[in-house]
């Protein structure tokens, strides 16, 4: 295990001494991020990136809270961001999503309000806990960014309602225990508090506004473009790392490693770890730089870290597969550069995938860019690690499958000529 790390660290050290590679890995994506920031008006305050996300609202509840959520989507504050339409039928709404006519459907079930605010006269009675009812966000898998934004709005609303309900209940019980509130009046007071929980500041669930400060669910365009560029150039980095395997074979250091008392698995594992270290260093530095220089708000730090590791793992799988197919370092370089650009386009690094044709959106699922961006967008919209199950699982599965294929190919061809 120690040798594995030593080989990986040696590769990382060599990367930091290669000025040309550093320029391509760090400076180029950073400059492109700045360029995209200017193009989209992020630096001039005229940001106009993601907008008019089509969403279908089905309010079967028609209670206070259901109406409040519907009002959120139809509010002025979200007018630029979402384009809501109301529907009475969940089936019809799902049909619209399935036929790719909207990013998501928000289905507020009947009894949603009652599940939060109990029916009059039942609040403090035993065995009358209302059945939990959940809002359904029927997401369009081919429009992950839009669906993610809709989901983030719903999550934020539910979270505020839940927060209000718990704090209200705690206050009422406290008042009753201290004799400050008559039990006869407690239910009326509680109902008033719960109703307010859903109503107050409902329009504060805003995106693209600086007025709410850091506490609001704010989407920064650079939180999309910075990871876009980082993920695109990550493909260069992983192919650079893969190229080093073939370069070491050509310059004789790989055979020398194999002659030393080091197992083949340690050598190959060390090289893979080196690629992983390089990718993590690259994306980590770019994210740090974006935070320091552009004040990009990335969201949940734990989610960001885990997502970086998963994205690098998925991308490194591609790097290894390209290397296993190639015969020379130059081949890895040229194929790697081509893959970097193709994945950049397919994965949404330049153009939001939601405006792409369905077959491209389908094809984008093979790119780490798509899943990485999906995750970073979710985080920037206020999501946390627990909201990243899908992109992280996809990236890990991608990495594992590609590594497996690469190992089979390496076993066939031999790491060095045998």
């Amino acid at each position: 295990m120690k040798k594995l790390f030593l080989i990986g660290l040696k590769d990382l050290q060599l990367m930091f001494r290669d000025r040309a590679a550093l320029t391509f890995m760090l400076l180029a994506p950073f400059l492109l991020t700045i360029g995209m920031g200017f193009v989209t008006g992020r630096f001039s305050g005229n940001a106009s990136g993601i907008s008019d996300i089509p969403v279908v609202i089905v309010n079967l509840d028609q209670g206070e809270l259901g109406n409040a959520l519907e009002d959120v989507f139809f509010s002025e504050d979200l007018a630029d961001l979402v384009e809501p339409t109301a529907s009475d039928s969940p089936e019809a709404a799902r049909q619209l999503i399935d036929s790719d006519q909207a990013s998501a459907a928000v289905i507020i079930p009947k009894g949603f309000t009652d599940s939060i605010i109990p029916v009059q006269g039942t609040m403090f009675r035993p065995n009358t806990t209302p059945e939990p009812v959940q809002i359904e966000v029927y997401a369009n898998p081919s429009r992950p960014t839009g669906a993610g934004i809709v989901k983030a709005i719903v999550d934020e609303f539910v979270s505020r309602v839940e927060e209000g309900r718990v704090s209200g209940m705690t206050s009422i019980i406290g008042l009753m225990q201290n004799g400050l509130l008559d039990p006869q009046n407690a239910e009326a007071e509680a109902r008033a508090l719960f109703e307010n929980a859903g109503m107050t500041e409902s329009t504060a669930i805003t995106l693209k506004t600086d007025k709410e400060g850091a506490a609001s669910t704010e989407f920064d365009l650079l939180a999309y473009f910075a990871p876009s560029m980082a993920l695109m150039f990550l493909m260069y980095t992983v192919s650079y790392g893969g190229r080093s395997i073939l370069a070491e074979r050509a310059q004789g250091t790989l055979p020398r490693l194999m002659i030393s008392p080091t197992h083949t698995a340690q050598v190959l594992g060390g090289k893979v770890l080196g690629i992983f270290f390089m990718g993590v260093a690259q994306v980590g530095i770019l994210i740090l730089a974006s935070t320091v220089f552009f004040q990009v708000k990335w969201g949940d730090p734990l989610g960001v870290i885990v997502l970086i590791l998963a994205a690098v793992f998925g991308a490194a799988g591609w790097g290894m597969l390209i290397t296993a197919f190639a015969r020379t370092p130059a081949q890895v370089g040229s194929v790697g550069s081509a893959v970097m650009l193709i994945f950049g386009i397919l994965g949404g690094s330049f153009v939001n995938l939601e405006v792409m044709p369905p077959f491209i959106r389908l094809f984008s699922n093979i790119t780490p860019n798509k899943w990485g961006l999906d995750g970073f967008t979710t985080l920037a919209l206020g999501g946390t690690l627990k909201n990243l199950t899908e992109p992280i699982s996809a990236l890990l599965i991608m990495g594992a499958v590609l590594f497996g294929m690469a190992v089979v190919l390496f076993n066939r061809s031999g790491l060095v000529q045998k």
């Binding site: 310059q251 020398r256 490693l257 002659i259 080091t262």
Partner: protein, 314 residues
């Protein structure tokens, strides 16, 4: 002295091509053994099999009692390898290279750093240890390349043509290093196609050609095979017909053998001075201009010529 290396019927095939054809030899602990042969003779393939990099097609070898096929990890602990190409990280300094490779051989901590300092002194690069290898001359790189092979104090050191492509001064330094290492008790298997190096360094020599070990023994034993003969080498012009001259020289009394190579004709004879006039006469008859003539006493070159009919550098 006991044998540290015993090679038995080692074969390596690449498809239909056999690079090494069942060679067998032993090396005693503490000796310098040279594997002498022209380029493509199978020297590097042999070293690659002995160092466990390539798997033999058949046959086996034991190093310090460990089989290269059955116990390669144990073999790797015993041997040091100086490959023919410079296998170093050019963007790392000499010290960083030595530290990394030392770690690969299981050295660590203080003992690693002390050993790196010793090796840097030994290869004469202590004062330039902090420079990146890519800034070094070819000779300096070769010395670091050797240093890596010495880090873990191997009992048996394989040196695969370590002087290829370097200046005479660096070559001299490397040959002296090999002698010093041997004096310190290290056994050395040295491959070369330079007859002079094999003659200077070796206790015993194996001559390899086309994957076969065609002669084996001390230098005296080998030169005795060709008898008390001299080798007369005629250097002729580029456009001259060396083959025709060689054929005509075979008719001269006391010419035991005459072989043509590029612009040269090599003649084996008991006494070179006795046939000199006749040889020059034959060349004149054919209108061939002789640029220069070398007379060589019995040596490994003559042995190779005697055994293969070709010069070593062919």
């Amino acid at each position: 002295m006991p044998n540290i290396l015993e090679v038995r019927n080692l074969v390596k095939n690449y498809g239909n091509f056999t690079a090494v054809k069942g060679i067998s030899f032993d090396i005693k602990e503490g000796e310098i053994f040279s594997l002498l042969g022209p380029n493509g003779a199978g020297k590097t393939t042999t070293i690659s099999m002995l160092s466990t990099l390539y798997t033999p097609t058949s046959g086996d070898a034991t190093i310090a009692g460990y089989s290269i096929t059955k116990d390669p990890m144990a073999v790797k602990q015993v041997i040091g390898v100086v490959p023919q190409e410079i296998a170093l990280y050019e963007d790392l300094t000499a010290r960083e290279n030595l530290i990394f490779w030392g770690q690969m051989y299981g050295l660590s901590g203080r003992s690693l750093h002390c050993r790196v300092d010793e090796v840097l002194e030994q290869i004469g690069l202590a004062d330039k240890a902090k420079n990146r290898v890519k800034t070094y001359s070819g000779g300096m790189k070769r010395r670091v390349n050797i240093g890596v092979g010495l880090l873990h104090k191997p009992r048996l050191l394989f040196m695969d043509e370590p002087t290829v492509g370097i200046d005479p001064q660096s070559r001299r330094a490397i040959l002296d290093t090999v002698k010093d290492l041997n004096k310190q008790g290290m056994t050395v298997l040295y491959t070369t196609h330079y007859m002079e190096e094999a003659q200077e360094l070796s206790d015993r020599v194996g001559i390899i050609d086309h994957g076969e070990l065609i002669a084996l023994g001390t230098q005296d034993e080998l030169t005795r095979q060709v008898g008390q003969t001299d080798t007369l080498v005629l250097h002729i012009g580029e456009n001259e017909d060396a083959d025709a001259l060689a054929a005509s020289l075979k008719g001269i009394k006391d010419v035991l053998e005459a072989n043509a190579t590029d612009h040269e004709v090599s003649i084996i004879t008991p006494q070179a001075e006795n046939i000199l006039a006749a040889v020059v006469g034959k060349a004149n008859e054919r209108g061939i201009k002789i640029h220069s003539i070398d007379i060589r006493e019995p040596n490994l070159e003559a042995v190779f010529l005697h055994l293969t009919g070709r010069a070593l550098r062919d």
